[in-house]
Symmetry: C2
Subunit: 504 residues, 2 copies
Amino acid sequence: MFAAAELGHVLDKEQYKIAADQLRQQLLTIQYQLKDRADFPVVILLGGVPTAGRGQVANLLLEWMDPRLIATHAFSAPNDEERARPPYWRYWRVLPPKGKMAILFGGWYSGPMWDQLTSQPDSVQYEHELGKIIRLETMLADEGALVLKFWLHLPKEQLKKRLKKYANDPLTSWRFDETDLWFLDHYDEVMASQQDLLQRTNLADAPWRVIESSDERYRDIAVGTHILEAITHHMERTSVRQKRVNAAPLMPSIDGVRLLDRLPLDADLSKESYNEQLEELQGRLNGLTRHPDFKKYSVVCVFEGMDAAGKGGAIRRITAALDARQYRTIPIAAPTEEERAQPYLWRFWRHIPPHGQITLFDRSWYGRVLVERVEDFASRADWMRAYGEINDFEAQISLANVIVVKFWLAISSEEQLRRFKEREEIEYKRFKITDEDWRNREKWDAYIEAGSDLIERTSTAIAPWHMVGANNKYYARLEVLRHLCERIEAALGPQKAGKKRKAT
Amino acid sequence: MFAAAELGHVLDKEQYKIAADQLRQQLLTIQYQLKDRADFPVVILLGGVPTAGRGQVANLLLEWMDPRLIATHAFSAPNDEERARPPYWRYWRVLPPKGKMAILFGGWYSGPMWDQLTSQPDSVQYEHELGKIIRLETMLADEGALVLKFWLHLPKEQLKKRLKKYANDPLTSWRFDETDLWFLDHYDEVMASQQDLLQRTNLADAPWRVIESSDERYRDIAVGTHILEAITHHMERTSVRQKRVNAAPLMPSIDGVRLLDRLPLDADLSKESYNEQLEELQGRLNGLTRHPDFKKYSVVCVFEGMDAAGKGGAIRRITAALDARQYRTIPIAAPTEEERAQPYLWRFWRHIPPHGQITLFDRSWYGRVLVERVEDFASRADWMRAYGEINDFEAQISLANVIVVKFWLAISSEEQLRRFKEREEIEYKRFKITDEDWRNREKWDAYIEAGSDLIERTSTAIAPWHMVGANNKYYARLEVLRHLCERIEAALGPQKAGKKRKAT
């Protein structure tokens, strides 16, 4: 991919002036259009050979355009906050909202590029990182983002010349360091592996632009022109954006029997027995969260199910066992304005707890394939692709020691009716019931269908669904606590789990 | 994915009879429609739990339909022919032509499923195999094939019951073996890893159907119904098939300068010096192909370039150095009828040489992105995705010790004109020039464009393009021989290469 960027492209001063004057005018105009439409963000990734001018290009873009609408981000070694969370958390943090732009130096490519050079070229880690990149960029594109990736290229001889020049001039010697010299020494291998990385991430919706950067004028006009053209093109495109369903179709069962239809909902449990076991389980949970090894893990707990299935009650029986500084409960309702300007998973990524902490989601990202599906808030193409995106999201955080525990609390239609009526009749429960609950109830069957599908598609080895029959709320609460303890024990290791079990 | 296939789906005898009578009639009808249209093949993959009835389902389908239009294939340990070639060669061999169906037991899933169980779950090999599967199935779908994947499922208890029953009856004890018992013993792990495999290969264009198989009647009707519906749906779909370009766009250079415009074409070399070096290089090549280690490798040599660039001449200078039993030259012209009924890479897969052999392609799979692009024989969507497919194809065969050597022989437009005229004037060269050559010449510029793009996109570390300025045909032939020797030497290892070089 680099041969075409070693042909000696050059612009003279006169050509440059004419092109630049026109270009900055056009870029400014389109930037304001983007702000006014506010229907997609622009993510610009800048990579390249040292001294090829990544910094200069970024500065120029900030000079040519309104810098209030562009953020720039560089990524060096992760800080404490970042280290305590899954690796991609720091990229999710800096995604620009719709209508704005961000320039990321290297971005999610920095890691794999250097890893690949310093470790085995076809290691598990490299394959894994590539997969993550491809899925992230595909998701961003599917969510409407414009992802622009530039590699500023210099032939080996050029790099050598520049480093020599910089080194000999005290005014410019700050411009390079040991890494640059290392790069020069390993130029051929770096380029071979970089080519592989670029070719394999040269996606239809997020292609690489390799820019010859020996001539600064050519480089600047080339980058600016590509940005202008891409945004113009994307504006025309998003308005008629094709919503092709790009996921395996759902398979309705031949005889109409669905997963949630067959779940046993009733259980026999007295209040006395409940109280006794509750205390025991809460003690067990508390002990687990105070275990020294728990500091290496975090827990994300998801509660889904029909209205009035007892999600809130179950959550409160968990939090009662925890130190208040250790957990947060996130009730999921309509997204905020800031959340609406981002890919839908962004609002959940921002709540991923650091190690040692627990986050309880009262409803969750499954809203995409549940309420948004049933109520037609998302297109079929959007919620269909969400199954894969959700599995990927959960796998990614699990790999970073986040224990993902998912509960589906299931009640019968009759039990829901009973609880609704009770809520209406008992004064202190009236806030819990709204007209919307009654409207949702009319779509009971569609929710069972959507629930069965989502459990089927998103029960993975690493983040399985635990279905709990919840007509008896005592039983359901104990079952939730017990399963949560078991999952944490499994993560902490069999020995510890064994010890704990005996102790309680 | 298996929970929904453990719900206890059942059909009674009466229901079955009615459904089966109708279904077999419909399947037969659609099978003949498929044959008449002959516009796509149907590939049915059958996997599942032992004793779930893969064989019975296949037999039933052959009974219900016209068996002359369905082939069945099982894959056990590879035979000699298969072992000497890349692993997927045996699957390419059995792809059904358009209008026909094939049932593959396990197919390309057999390997990774067992590997995953017996080795590390996230090994490089597993990731790699998954990628291969996904790219193969995506390619098949893009080429119009209907890929149907069935997993016949049984809950653990059912499997246990059946194995017990079979074991106790001498009439059925042949039905199972040690592997089945092993499967039962490891049921939970097998299912966990199988679920991961199914979820990750549950593609939009090649989804899995998990079929509950405890009840044979339900199983048979379910499989048959899915096949019928899928073919019906695919027939409606292919006629209006969307040709969305699903590849990174080509980036025209800002100043219009292209790769092949800048290649030096002329070289200075006398006939005497040529003859001398030719002999030396041919001897070197011959020595390499007789090296004991060469038996572990094969060579695929690709020649592309403008008409009259000297491809044939260069090939003959290679073959002159080889044992006639060791090589084949494949001139690529219009595809045969059989080839037209297959995905376009099929005609090249069939010529992949076994280890120890050399195949020389006079023109190649690059026709897709060259003549088919320029002449509009393929849609833009089709030739655009070909870049990725070709890189994948070459990577795959390279990994199986096929040395891929690609030459672009480049001449100037003036030189071509001189050669064309010479061909017309010299009687024994007249067969070499046709009206088509003159017509192609008019599209010189479009071919330069397409050639530059393809070199840019398909020069990979594992299968790089070697561009050769060929206005001086002596120089070009030597350069081809030299590069071929170097690539083989590099594959055989540095020591051998070093020794060889000194010896000649």
